[in-house]
Symmetry: C2
Subunit: 253 residues, 2 copies
Amino acid sequence: MKNIFQKVSIIGNGNVGFHLIEAFCDAGIEVTHVLVRHSINETERNVAYVNSYSELPKNQLVIVCVPDDFITEVIEQIDESCPVAYTSGSVNIASLPKRNELGVFYPLQSFSKGVQLEMGEVPFFIEANEISFGESLFELAQKLSKNVKYASSEQRSKLHLAAVWVNNFTNHLTFIAQEYLESEQMDFEDLKPLLKETIRKIELNSPRESQTGPARRGDQKTIEKHLKMLNESQQEIYRILTQSIQKTYLQND
Amino acid sequence: MKNIFQKVSIIGNGNVGFHLIEAFCDAGIEVTHVLVRHSINETERNVAYVNSYSELPKNQLVIVCVPDDFITEVIEQIDESCPVAYTSGSVNIASLPKRNELGVFYPLQSFSKGVQLEMGEVPFFIEANEISFGESLFELAQKLSKNVKYASSEQRSKLHLAAVWVNNFTNHLTFIAQEYLESEQMDFEDLKPLLKETIRKIELNSPRESQTGPARRGDQKTIEKHLKMLNESQQEIYRILTQSIQKTYLQND
């Protein structure tokens, strides 16, 4: 029997790898080896940082935490005796080199090395080419989080796409607001309570119920005034989002 | 001397009015009268709900909390002895009927009747047609919040525009993500930890540093894949935001 529940190896020490190492150690799962491209001095955890695939223990689960474009070449170099799982939201399991035990261990969250988070709240999505391996990964994820589900590659890529809207795009809109205020010598800090409340309301109610503003109430005068205050590329985004809001609620009011 | 610090009247019992009444009462400022269009039974606070302008006490501050389009006609009906302030983000003070003491008491926040919030964290922006009245409003706001500033009508309308991005537009993007997931029989709840973390990171760092995702890293393969998964109007927004992110970071990397 493989000891995938007690011991794991990790490839990659980026944002995801870093947080998984922390979370496994906190959950009492031993991360024996971490494969990294460059030597690093890491003394906090009882983990061996290695630079060569041959140093990874055989017959031990390897979790691959590298950018999507490198997953195939990384997996090809892992010993055939090792079950392998990867952490990507958008890479289809069928697109990867075949092996005995191949699976997905996808935490739906935005990780940054410098920013601590509650792994117990992070939804994990599991997929595998073999049922019992999938079950093992599922149980492993349950040691880290209370929200673990199975998801096909197709479902996972939908979650990943939704995450782009919720994370990447909302972040960019906030950036536009910051840039705009700063160009007008005003303080973005004053917007932060609103930002926080915006998200709190979505959690309490829903984005549909929470929608307010000139587009929602059809206040064309304010919309025109705002457009005049923006530059061309800001105008383009303002206009298209305003139209989208108007279309959404006109259809349903 | 007018007792504007101890007693106020409020016009409107919408989202803003409701929360201001609560906050004033909690701060020990007496809201003696609230003018509403329709009779309401409200027993919790020691407040008189009235339906006629003539019932508002003379020589007492009136805070107007009505939609932008009604501010002018409301102000015209308030007794000349009363100092008046209104709570709008976008209405210019110069556009309103002249009177002795006219000012702005603008809380930059998204209020909903059913949702409690920390008024002490809400930024208030003050403007007045007369310096000492402005100072009085400033002091009054300080009884409610630790973040009070003066802002001209022009500055205030910029803050209001930035608020549209941070609140209305981010909310709509989240709505699109929810609608998309639900149309695919998936659970929007699984996105909520990510949404929360997105905003927490913006608060900890800045939206510029926090930007990640396919657009940020120029991952054209994932972008194309995502576009194929969306309907036409979603595609339009996805495309324009992706272009905007790429333009932002190409210029600066």
